[in-house]
């Protein structure tokens, strides 16, 4: 006997004649990353708790990519996250963009090993995941390593900096951005892809109907498992001083004069 979700996916396969596809998007809720550097404060070596919590910068690109794949290939889409219970209201936006359900592991660790182990547990509970998408890095710790660790833990291939995904001849074809251009890659197995932002995956704004519908979609809350912490001690977290003092050049009268003053100052300081 199959569960309701499995039965649904099998019916999709029958309908489309294609591979029954289940896509997971990893999403992390982070403290407001738009707080200007000059206003940024820490408490207990982490962003101040007064900052509002929001979806990670690149995670929204990953969700948009996942929703586009879901629409194109009649796939199912699950949002998986590791975080606190209060994150659910933010994560519902991901569901409203096109996810079918949310699976949240309740935990508060910042350790990448622990987070990856918990995400692995959540993905394995979903059983039949074909493809995992994640933003290229979180917008708080900025490490860009948890998704690669998860891939290795699951035995999936890991491809970072992915800009475009499509199926071709039963395989995945992806465009990966590199420092000098891009690479076209193809693979047949399961993979974790870290998604970069491109004009094609600018996140959609969910319509009101979807926002209300998202409130009724299932949220699975999973207790955290104990993972082995990475053998690294965090000694300190500090806010670096910004010492630049801006000299505003006059602009009221004559732009040409402003340009001359600027070039003169840059030459005085032997910068050009």
């Amino acid at each position: 006997m199959f569960g309701r979700n499995e039965a649904m996916r099998r019916s999709i396969r029958l309908k489309t004649g294609g591979y029954p596809m289940h896509i997971v998007v990893l999403a992390k809720v982070v403290p407001d990353y738009e707080v200007p550097a000059g206003d940024f404060e820490l408490t207990n070596s982490r962003a101040h708790s007064r900052y509002k919590r929001m979806m990670g910068l690149y995670d929204e690109n990953a969700i948009e990519s996942g929703v586009q794949l879901k629409e194109k290939y009649s796939a199912s889409l699950t949002i998986v996250s590791y975080g606190i219970k209060a994150d659910i209201q933010v994560l519902r936006k991901a569901v409203a963009m096109g996810g079918e359900k949310l699976s949240l592991v309740l935990g508060g660790s910042d350790d990448p090993n622990v987070i990856a182990a918990n995400l692995k547990m959540a993905v394995e509970k979903l059983e039949d995941v074909d493809l995992i998408l994640a933003g290229q890095q979180s917008a708080d710790m900025d490490r860009g390593i948890v998704h690669g660790m998860l891939a290795e833990m699951l035995g999936f291939a890991f491809i970072p900096q992915v800009a475009k995904i499509e199926q071709e001849d039963g395989q995945w074809k992806v465009i990966q951005n590199t420092e000098s251009g891009s690479s076209e890659l193809k693979f047949g197995g399961k993979a974790v892809l870290s998604i970069t932002s491109v004009p094609e995956n600018v996140p959609r704004i969910p319509v009101v109907r979807s926002i209300f519908a998202a409130k009724k979609k299932p949220v699975v809350q999973l207790p955290e498992i104990e993972g082995d912490a990475m053998p690294v001690d965090e000694l300190s977290v500090d806010i670096p001083k910004m010492e630049s003092v801006c000299e505003f050049l006059p602009t009221e009268d004559d732009p040409a004069e402003t340009a001359k003053i600027l070039l003169g100052r840059l030459r005085e300081e032997r910068l050009i």
Binding site: Y33, E34, V35, P36, A37, G38, L42, P112, A116, Q136, Q137, D142, R143, G144, I145, G148, M149, A151, E152, A157, P160, Q161, N177, E179, S180, G181, S182, S183, L185, K186, F187, G189, T196, S197, P199, M230, P231, V232, D233, E234, V237, D238, P240, M242, S244, C246, E247, F248, L249, T251, P255, A256, T258, A259, K260, L262, L263, L266, L271, I272
Partner: protein, 295 residues
């Protein structure tokens, strides 16, 4: 400490990693990814033709265990990020990404919160894997070449179908002493020609913020910032760029930032040495004319 560098054959990237390696050893070993002669002097050098990170992890892990490497260095790049995290799981090794500082006793620094904070870590286990953020370490001058032995790849998980190089005319962004960058405030792709004119006249390169790249006005290879290129020019013109911390993280090592923005409250002015509060369309054309007159 026995140190291994894993990198493409690109002298500047490689030179920066050699500089970092000197914090740990006198002469590192090297795995060169891709084809070509290996510049510089390494204890041992291995070479692998396959440039897809996913295909390299298993065999790199075997090599690291067999040779007993204690420190593994990669650039924080598409290749480096593709290898570092899976490799850390394979080896049960700690990994610290985007390292910007190395201190004695295996203490390293890396930015977080979009560069608004810097964390200091102590590595407690070997081997340890570090990806190094570009432009934070002077590139060592690589003399001569090192012969290599091939590193074979047992399993090809991912096939490389094609590679596309985005051709940029003039100086590469990372090497430019003058960078003229535009953000969403530029308003349209065609307005970037104005920025190109300024860059050409100052022998510089054109960059962009993530916003301008997301609009499709410029290529992703021109993106400057935490998740784009890390640059260290003498002068960085930030035109129509608000100054999000993720962008500022990419220009932390610029000597002088010139901000042109009509919003006097824009965050970019807090990082700028010179500020012009104006519509760039009034200033940049006269800047071009002045530079032409002075040429």
């Amino acid at each position: 400490m026995k140190t291994l560098i894993i990198e493409m054959i690109e002298p500047k990237r490689l030179g920066e990693l050699v500089t970092v390696s000197r914090e740990f050893c006198e002469q590192p070993d090297m795995v060169a990814v891709g084809a070509g002669q290996i510049p510089g002097s390494f204890g041992k050098a291995y070479q692998v033709a396959d440039t897809v990170a996913a295909n390299l992890v298993s065999d790199l892990a075997s090599l690291i265990l067999k040779e007993g490497y204690e420190i593994v260095l990669l650039t924080a790049s598409t290749l480096g990020s593709g290898i570092a995290a899976p490799l850390s799981v394979k080896l049960s090794a700690p990994v610290v990404s985007e390292v910007i500082g190395i201190k004695p006793d295996l203490v390293v620094e890396r930015p977080l919160y979009g560069g608004k904070a810097v964390a200091t870590y102590k590595l407690n286990k070997m081997p340890a894997i570090l990806t190094i953020r570009r432009k934070y370490f002077e590139a060592a001058d690589l003399q001569g070449f090192t012969d290599s032995s091939p590193l074979s790849i047992a399993e090809k998980k991912v096939a490389l179908i094609a590679e596309k190089e985005e051709k940029t005319e003039g100086i590469p962004l990372e090497d430019a002493e003058v960078i003229v960058s535009g953000g969403r405030g530029i308003g349209a792709a065609e307005n970037f020609t104005m920025l190109q004119d300024v860059a050409d006249l100052l022998n510089g390169a054109v960059g962009a913020s993530r916003g301008a790249v997301d609009e499709g006005w410029v290529q992703p290879t021109q993106q400057v910032g935490q998740t784009g290129k890390i640059v260290a020019p003498g002068v960085y013109f930030a035109i129509g760029i608000s100054g999000a911390s993720q962008h500022l993280a990419g220009i932390a090592n610029a000597k002088c930032v010139v901000a042109i923005n009509k919003d006097e409250e824009a965050n970019i002015f807090k990082r700028a040495r010179f500020g012009i509060v104006s519509d760039y369309k009034k200033i940049v054309p006269v800047l071009i004319e002045t530079l032409k007159e002075e040429a």
